[in-house]
Amino acid sequence: MLHVAVATRTFRRYATYRAATLSGIFTNSVFGIIYSYAYLALWDANPSAGGYDSQDAVTYVWLGQALLMTIALWGGGTTDDLAERIRSGDVAIDLYRPVGLVGWYLASDLGRAAYHLLTRGFGPTLIGLVVFDISLPGSVLDAGAFAVSLVLAVIVSFAIRFLVASTAFWLLDQSGVKVMSGAFAIFISGMMLPLVLFPGWLGTLANALPWASYVQVPADIWLGKRQGTDLLAALGFQVMWAVVLIAACHGVLRLATRKVVVQGG
C-alpha cells in the first residue's frame, strides 16, 4: 500500500511538467522519423537483414522511441534523486526510515515509468502509426506478454541505474558513471541498432547481457518473433536479470552503509 502511494505521487510529480512532456514527444517523433528513413534505406538495400522485414524495422524504431524515456535508457529517473541525496548526505534520513531503500525507489521509479509510458510512450507511437505503416501485436497473448516484458524491462533498468547512483557513496558524484553507463546502454540494448543486426560474437554477447531486456526483448515480443516456449524463455531471461540485479542492489547498499561515512550536511 505504501509503495502504491509512493508510485502515484511520483507519477503526479512528473505530470507537473506539461511543456516538457510535449516537447519530449515532439523530439522523440522527429528522431523516430529520421531513423525510420535510415532503416528503410538499409532494408531497401538488404530486404531481410537480421531476419526483419522493413515493416518490422520501422516498427522497431518507434518502439525504441516509445521506450527511450519509459525505460530511462539514458539513465536518470528517480535514481537521480537518490544520487543527489547521497551527495548531500540526506540519504541518512532515508536509511533510518522503516522501509527498505530499494523498494521505495523502485516503487517511485515505476510511478515515473507509468507516466512516461502514457505520454512519451503512446505519443510517438500514435505519430508512428499515422506517418508510417507500423505493425501492432499479432495476438492478445503477445500484447499481454509485451506488457509484462515492459514492467520487467523497467525493473532491470532501475536496478542498473540504482547501482550507478550508488557509486556516489564512494565517488560523491554519479554523473561520470551515469554518462558512461547511459552511452553503453543505448548501444548494447539495441536502441541504436537492433541487436539482430549485431554480427557474430558481439551479437551473442549483447543478447546475453541484461541490457537486451530494455528494447530488444520487448520489441521481439511485440513483433511476434518469440512464440510458445520461446516466449517463456524471453520473459524468463528478464526475470533472471531482474532478480540478480535487485539482489546486487541490496548487496551494494549493505556494503555502502557499512563502509561509508555519511556526508555531514
Binding site: 528522431f31 535510415a38 565517488l171 554518462v179 558512461m180 552511452a183 553503453f184 543505448i186 548501444f187 543486426l197
Partner: protein, 270 residues
C-alpha cells in the same frame, strides 16, 4: 571609455571557462569518466553505422567512406558548437533559479556569460572521436586546392549553423522554461539527420533542411562537391559552395531571436 570589443568578450569568455574547468577538476574521477563517456557515446554511434554496413555495401549508393565523411564533418561541427556554447541549453534553469538576474547585473554581455557558464571540457571526447573519423574519411577524398578550401569552409560554416541552432532554439525557454528537449530535435536531430546521405529522405525533408533548418549546408552540399557527386535531388551546383551564407544567416537569425527573448524576459522574482 571605449566600449569593450569582441576581443575583450572572448577574453572574458576564456576566463569564465577556465574557472569552470578548475571547478570540474575537483571531482577528477567524474571529470575523466565524463570525457571518456562522451567520446564513447559518439564512438559507438559510428560503430552503429559500421555494423549497418556489414549488412550492405552501399547505403542509397553511398559507400562507408562517403558516409563517414558526412558523419565526421557533421559530428565535428556539432562538437565545436556544443563545446563552445552548449551551456545555452540550460537557460531555462537559470531563469527558474533566478541566476539570470544575477548575470544581468554584471558588466559582461549576457550571451557570453550564459555560454561560458559551466563550461566543460568533457566534450573533448566527442571532438577527438569526430576528428578521427573525419580524418580517416578524408584519406579517400581526391583532393584539389578548391576542395581543401570547401572542406575548411564546410567545418567553419557547419559550426556556425549549429551555434545558431543552439542559441536560437534555446530562446524558446524565455517563453516556456521547461521545454529544453524541444531544441534537441533541431540540434541533435540535425546532427543525426546529417549522418546519412540526405537522399534517403523524401524531397520535402530535403527542402526543409535546406531552407528552414539549414543543416543540409553543414555537410551534405559541400560533401557532394568533395566527393565529386551530382545532387540526386538536382539542386543547383551553387548550393555546394553556399555553406558560409547559410552559417552567417543562421547565426544572424539566432542573435535576433536572442535579443527578442532577452527583451521579453521578466524575472520570476525568485
Amino acid at each position: 571609455m571605449a566600449s569593450p570589443g569582441p576581443a575583450q568578450h572572448l577574453r572574458t569568455y576564456g576566463q569564465i571557462a577556465w574557472l569552470w574547468i578548475r571547478a570540474a577538476w575537483q571531482y577528477p574521477t567524474s571529470f575523466v569518466l565524463l570525457a571518456v563517456g562522451n567520446g564513447l557515446i559518439t564512438g559507438l554511434d559510428f560503430v552503429g553505422l559500421w555494423i549497418m554496413f556489414s549488412h550492405l555495401s552501399r547505403l542509397d549508393g553511398f559507400t562507408l567512406h562517403e558516409v563517414a565523411l558526412l558523419y565526421g564533418s557533421a559530428s565535428l561541427a556539432l562538437a565545436v558548437a556544443d563545446t563552445a556554447i552548449g551551456s545555452v541549453e540550460r537557460i531555462g534553469t537559470y531563469i527558474r533559479t533566478g541566476r539570470l538576474d544575477q548575470m544581468m547585473t554584471k558588466p559582461v554581455p549576457l550571451l557570453v556569460q550564459v555560454c561560458a557558464d559551466q563550461f566543460t571540457l568533457r566534450r573533448l571526447g566527442r571532438l577527438t572521436q569526430a576528428a578521427v573519423v573525419f580524418g580517416w574519411a578524408c584519406t579517400y577524398v581526391d583532393w584539389t586546392p578548391l576542395r581543401v578550401l570547401v572542406a575548411v569552409s564546410m567545418l567553419v560554416s557547419g559550426a556556425l549553423v549549429f551555434f545558431g541552432l543552439f542559441v536560437g532554439f534555446s530562446c524558446i525557454q524565455f517563453w516556456t522554461t521547461d521545454a529544453t528537449e524541444f531544441a534537441n530535435a533541431f540540434t541533435y536531430g540535425g546532427a543525426t539527420v546529417t549522418q546519412y546521405p540526405l537522399s534517403i529522405f523524401p524531397r520535402e525533408v530535403m527542402v526543409g533542411l535546406t531552407f528552414v533548418i539549414p543543416v543540409a549546408f553543414v555537410n551534405w552540399y559541400p560533401c557532394l562537391y568533395l566527393l565529386g557527386r551530382s545532387d540526386p535531388f538536382g539542386t543547383p551546383d551553387a548550393f555546394q559552395f553556399a555553406s558560409p551564407v547559410a552559417g552567417i544567416l543562421t547565426m544572424a537569425a539566432a542573435l535576433l531571436v536572442w535579443r527578442t527573448g532577452v527583451r521579453h524576459y521578466t524575472s520570476t522574482g525568485s
